[in-house]
Amino acid sequence: MTAIAPYRSPVTPGRDGFAQLLRAEWTKFRTVRGWVVGILVAVLLTVGIGLTGSSGCGFNSNGTGACPAAPTGPGGAAVTDRFYFVHQPLTGDGTVTARVTSLTGVYSPSGYTGAPQTGPGALKGYRSGVQPWAKAGIMIKASTGQGTAYAALLVTGANGVRMQDDYTGDIAGLPGPVSAAAPRWLRLVRSGNSVSGYDSLNGTRWSLVGTVTLSGLPRTAQAGPFTASPSSMVLTQSLGTVATTGAAPTIATAAFDHVALSGAGGAWTGTSVGGGAARPGGGNANVNGPGNAAEPFNGGFRPSGTAGFTVRGSGDIAPNVPEAADGSGTSPTQVLDIGTFLGLIAMVVVGASFITAEYRRGLIRTTLTAAPHRTRVLAAKALVIAAVTFAAGLAATGVTLLLDVARAGSAIPPLTALTEVRMIVGTAALLAVASVLALALGVLARRGIAAVSAAIVVIVLPFLLAYIPGSLSTGAQDWLLRIFPAAGFAVSQAFPAYHQVVAPYQPNMGYFPLAPWVGFLVLCAWAAVAFAAAAYRLGRRDA
């Protein structure tokens, strides 16, 4: 046979690297209509469901259909600032002292929210009982306007003495309930911008509870005793129905004596901070006698004995938790979650089939022939599916959240820009990482049905079980959202949960057991483990 010279190609070989793999996988993705349509469906589901959601004003609706705008605190976040304040100006440094000898209250056990049925000497439909976070104590506040800086030392219905400042700060002091037999002495000392709180059982031995620094406290502030009592919350839930909450007004009455304000000699003024116009039975009057509840919701005060007062108040001075009885509006998270959840299912299916379609047709062999470095192939696939779902998720959640916030107006308390960015970027990242997890499950299962089933069981089912009220105990639901990939939904939580505000902190209300980025890391851990297992199996298995 005649010898023939071996073939030399005139075609210049192209570059061979990860960028070429990425480009190839992107070309693969965009040239299958089903996948592109699947992602668009995910976007439409997210936006569509998100925008059909309704938002309400909760208990604080004034009945005119418009939600009252929540005031914002010194940090810019929405706050609840409605209570009864008996005060005098305090100029410069100084000290406020008072002794609290009792804190009692009434509430409506039925979740009654209508106009108060008041009559002489009685509150019809109400029972005695003090709210666990009813507050009575002394306060130094920039002004009687809502949302201004303050520091307060107070006794609570069931949480002992607390030092609180600027709505979110909360430091525990002496434990136990207050009574005539076991009164609490409270003292606030202002020095410049810092305020220190001391508590005492006898007025002679004082212990420091805490020192806080208030920015924006003017030279002349208002100081004196106050009382607040958050509305009670009645939770009803049954399997399959979203938990419904009924909120009922409550009133607390506190007895103060030994009230002293250094350097002051003026008259005490009673102010219903936050006004009463929006409250049922509005008005503002002094308490004229024990048991007189003619104007119960705005509170009042009455001097008693020497340097003493009885102060009656309703409301709360605390962070605005929208779902709390005194909170305003709805958390946009609830709305975002359902849409995101449906979008997630579509993206998980696309993510899994991005690889299982290759197994089904035997195309995986062509892929691995073109790129023998298998882990790099898997990484390229994961990056492409992550980039696609992240971009789609960014568009979907961005549009949904911004439109929702705009549409709801004051029904949603203001969100800081940082929180909005975290919710949008975090939710997009949640979708991206979940799609990578589905892709990895696709490599492990190889068959589309098996991979999608596995993804549904691991990602979707725990979220559903945690989301549907009554499907499991709340403890079990919390654990599902701690250990399963659905923990990642925490990134979409709009408002933090505060232990000092009673509210239904449940997944279907937009609250998750883990901090936003911690929950996201749980999801990432799942994806990382699945990816490592997939890379290992892909590398070892005959294709």
Partner: protein
């Protein structure tokens, strides 16, 4: 070195089945090498090992002197068609080649060139889900040629092709070999490789039975066989068997004799006074050569076991 496939002692076991049992051969440049053997002989497994898809239990497979997984832009070193049906049905022919081209750092222009070469330019924008098997084979050829590699490896490329397609494929493969490429073509039907292959590697039960040029194989298979026409079949069989021949009746009045030359056949018949009308040296077809080789392999295996 560039245009070669070198296999040395490949062994591969799937559960209880020994798929490859020391597969050793070399594919050289400038010729079409037929890779034939019955179904289950290990052809596809060998090809998957060459492409780094399956890992061999023992032995080595080198493409251009390197293991496949070490190749850079591998489609420029070896082009392969394993399974023409391995296509995403919703993707067009051109887009299928496009992602492959992108994976090698090649552009869309190269994809269009190979579509033209494979005669698929007119259906480039059609989804492959609607392609006939013959069209898929052509698309597979186009994909194998994408990197313009010096080595080509095609698994059963004639499957599903119409007669026109088979003629086209034969000419195409001969043309590629004439350019100096090494072309390995597998088939379970020797007839498909007639007039195409220059060299044959015949395999059975996971190992090489014969590795020779087509001419050598035919000569070997024809061997010392003689075809005899006689009206006295029974007497002839007896006489020739006594002379030490193996005799088979291959037609009415026709005997095929092996193990005895034509001269000695004539002598034996003459001595026994048996009439005959024709004695010719037998020329085997490639098909017969193949059947003989693979049958021997089976016998050898059976004998070795007992």
């Amino acid at each position: 070195m560039e245009a070669t496939i070198e296999l040395t002692g490949l062994r591969k076991r799937f559960g209880p089945a020994q798929a490859l049992n020391g597969m050793t051969f070399t594919v050289g440049p400038g010729q079409v090498t037929g890779f034939v053997g019955p179904n289950g002989a290990g052809k596809s497994t060998t090809m998957r090992i060459i492409l780094g898809l399956d890992a061999a239990d023992a032995g080595s497979a080198l493409v251009g002197g390197q293991p496949y997984r070490a190749l850079r832009h591998p489609l420029s070193r070896i082009g392969a068609l394993l399974d023409a049906a391995a296509l995403q049905p919703g993707r067009t022919a051109r887009n299928h080649l496009l992602w492959l081209a992108h994976s090698q750092g090649l552009g869309a222009k190269r994809a269009d060139t190979v579509l033209e070469l494979a005669g698929l330019a007119s259906v480039a924008k059609r989804k492959t889900g609607g392609f006939s098997l013959g069209m898929r084979q052509r698309l597979g050829i186009a994909a194998a040629l994408l990197g313009d590699p010096p080595v080509l490896m095609l698994d059963e490329p004639f499957n599903g092709m119409d007669p026109d397609g088979i003629v086209w494929m034969r000419g195409f493969l001969r043309g590629l070999a004439a350019e100096g490429r090494a072309v390995l073509v597998s088939s379970h039907l020797m007839s498909e490789l007639e007039d195409t292959a220059d060299h044959l590697v015949v395999v059975g039960r996971g190992q090489v039975i014969a590795d020779a040029s087509v001419a050598e194989l035919i000569a070997a298979a024809s061997g010392d066989r003689v075809q005899l026409r006689t009206p006295a079949r029974a007497e002839a069989i007896k006489a020739l068997a006594n002379a030490g021949a193996r005799v088979a009746a291959t037609g009415p009045g026709v005997l095929t004799i092996s193990n005895l030359s034509s001269e000695r056949t004539v002598a034996a018949l003459t001595a026994a006074a048996i009439p005959f009308t024709e004695v010719t040296a037998h020329r085997a077809t490639l098909e017969e050569a193949y059947m003989e080789l693979t049958r021997d392999a089976v016998e050898f295996r059976a004998g070795a076991r007992s």
